[in-house]
């Protein structure tokens, strides 16, 4: 690689400055609140109390892991098919992937409730053919489904944008390899699309760990995730300290999981880790 140009050195300045003021300083505020009590006196009580939340942390991680895996499994072939369309179609498809998310999450969730309820659309259809009713809403499945629905565009787009770049000839060669070709497909395309996959996983897993609205509504208030607890601490109790401590620990957990992911995915290219 050539000498870094001046441009390459200063181009990051706005972001570094921005991040320092609006990301790092608030992070210190969070840390400060984590180690103080509501009166501002230093304390470790918040951190000590966290032990009780072990199961909730575990559940949140499991739910978002499930959502991430399902999103990946669905998004990957989707992005692949999309990247093989002609360019104009690709553009339309891309906007169509994002468009549902331009609507209000509240309305989308309400609509899913309408569909999944006991007397909802699915169960009404089932009863017409003499089946059901199924309990869909208020289950872990419903919450995971809600997460997948809400975050899958953030998996599709980065994978697609990387796949669109892969030469068609490479793909065709891999495709033409017939029945035994699946492994080659896996060996050829997957490594090439890895950067997009890593970005996608990050953008689905990280925000879904701290989600709260979906779990409350589709879980019928019976499923409690970290996001709910933090929201309650701050919103209902005005206990910024406990909320901050929970959030800090959540951050540590996520950083560790990302490092773990780097361990698995990072050996192809060190630039991959995002």
């Amino acid at each position: 690689m050539k000498q870094r140009s001046l441009l390459q050195r200063i181009i990051g300045a706005p972001y570094v400055l921005w991040a320092a003021i609006f990301i790092v300083v608030p992070l210190f505020i969070v840390a400060y609140y984590s180690f103080t009590d509501p009166n501002g006196a230093p304390t470790l009580a918040n951190i000590k109390n966290l032990g009780e939340y072990g199961p909730i942390f575990r559940d949140s991680i499991l739910y978002s892991l499930a959502a991430t895996v399902i999103s990946l499994v669905l998004a990957y072939p989707f992005a692949y098919v999309m990247s093989r369309k002609r360019e104009k179609t690709q553009q339309i498809m891309m906007v169509l992937v994002m468009l549902p998310m331009w609507m209000s999450l509240l309305i989308l969730t309400y609509s899913w409730m309408n569909i999944l309820e006991r007397n909802g659309i699915i169960n009404t259809l089932l009863s017409k053919i003499g089946a059901g009713p199924l309990t869909l809403i208020g289950t872990p499945g419903a919450v995971i489904f809600g997460m997948v629905y809400n975050y899958i565009p953030y998996m599709i787009l980065p994978i697609y944008s990387v796949m669109a770049k892969i030469e068609p000839s490479v793909l065709e060669a891999a495709e033409d390899l017939g029945s035994g070709g699946l492994s080659k497909l896996y060996r050829v395309i997957l490594p090439l699309s890895m950067p997009g996959v890593v970005s996608g996983i990050t953008m689905v897993f990280v925000p879904s760990v701290s989600t709260f609205y979906i779990s409350q509504k589709l879980g019928d208030g019976k499923i409690l995730l970290v996001g709910d607890i933090i929201e309650r601490q701050i919103q209902a109790q005005n206990n910024y300290n406990m909320g901050a401590a929970l959030s800090l620990v959540l951050m540590v957990i996520i950083v560790l999981s990302m490092a773990l992911m780097k361990l698995f995915a990072g050996d192809t290219d060190e630039n991959l880790y995002v």
Binding site: R4, K88, V95, L99, L106, W112, S161, M258, N271
Partner: protein, 266 residues
């Protein structure tokens, strides 16, 4: 055959993505006031949107304005940041930057919102402002949570580009700046676009962070919609979103058709 299976699969995913929107459009035509019991077909919520004196138009305009502005700024800063991160050589510094980038995503929205509010209040007190929160604090907050998504979309594209491309251009006499705009930028454009799309999307429906960082004079649509915790949303909001939805669809269709025509002419 393979193609057909692929298309069916894509079709199913689209169907699931759009199923709740279909429900939304149906209930926007509900004669009753409910969004769960359909009482009969009526266009009254649309008529109402266009005729009554409720102030829904202002939050709609505010929301779009904020989302576009925040997404544009975040895309510029984020793309530049991604290029910078890509060229950074110190591993520690690179890892630090990457981790910091993830923070706004890791924090629950409410923590991001409250911590930014506390920061703005602190600064506001320093300069002696009566209202520490206003449109600009809201904009800053939105840009802050948008940037990581832009970076995460652009970085993989940079990783994919051939580093020799820029060098080749420079060898041919371009300045590094020219090389960047002529060679590097076009090759990462699809990442920039999807980053912009995500940023725009996130801004459009953010409620929690907006609640804590906005002042009194700038209300957005999500603030209006999500603050009805005790009351249900009325179908007029459904009608509003249905209009937005159908408008976007119409534009897509239009550009698709006109694009196809252009192609045929050629």
């Amino acid at each position: 055959m393979k193609k057909a299976i692929g298309n069916i699969f894509v079709g199913i995913i689209y169907f699931l993505l759009y199923l709740p929107l279909l429900v939304m459009v149906i209930f926007s035509f509900n004669e009753g006031r409910s969004t769960s019991v359909f009482k009969g077909f009526s266009g009254k919520w649309y008529v109402e949107l266009f005729t009554n004196s409720s102030d829904i138009g202002i939050p709609v305009r505010n929301t779009l304005f904020l989302a576009v502005l925040a997404a544009v700024i975040a895309t510029v800063i984020g793309t530049a940041a991604a290029v910078y991160i890509y060229y950074v050589r110190s591993k520690t510094w690179k890892n630090t930057l990457n981790t910091v980038t993830n923070i706004p995503m890791m924090n629950p929205d409410i923590v991001t919102g409250v911590s930014l509010m506390l920061l703005f209040v602190f600064v506001g007190r320093l300069v002696g402002a009566l209202n520490s929160l206003n449109f600009f604090t809201l904009l800053i907050a939105h840009i802050t949570f948008n940037i990581p998504y832009v970076i995460l979309n652009v970085l993989p594209k940079l990783n994919q580009t051939d580093p020799h491309l820029s060098e080749a251009a420079q060898d041919l006499g371009s300045t590094p700046t020219e090389a960047f705009f002529r060679v590097v930028l076009p090759s990462i454009m699809s990442g920039v676009t999807s980053g912009f799309m995500m940023a725009f999307t996130l801004s459009l429906d953010d409620f929690v962070i907006s609640y804590y960082t906005t002042g009194t004079d700038f209300q957005t649509l999500p603030l209006f919609v999500f603050n009805m915790v005790k009351k249900p949303v009325k179908p007029n909001i459904y009608a509003l979103y249905s209009i937005i939805f159908l408008l976007v669809l119409a534009v897509l269709l239009f550009t698709n058709i006109s694009g196809a025509k252009e192609k045929r002419k050629k």
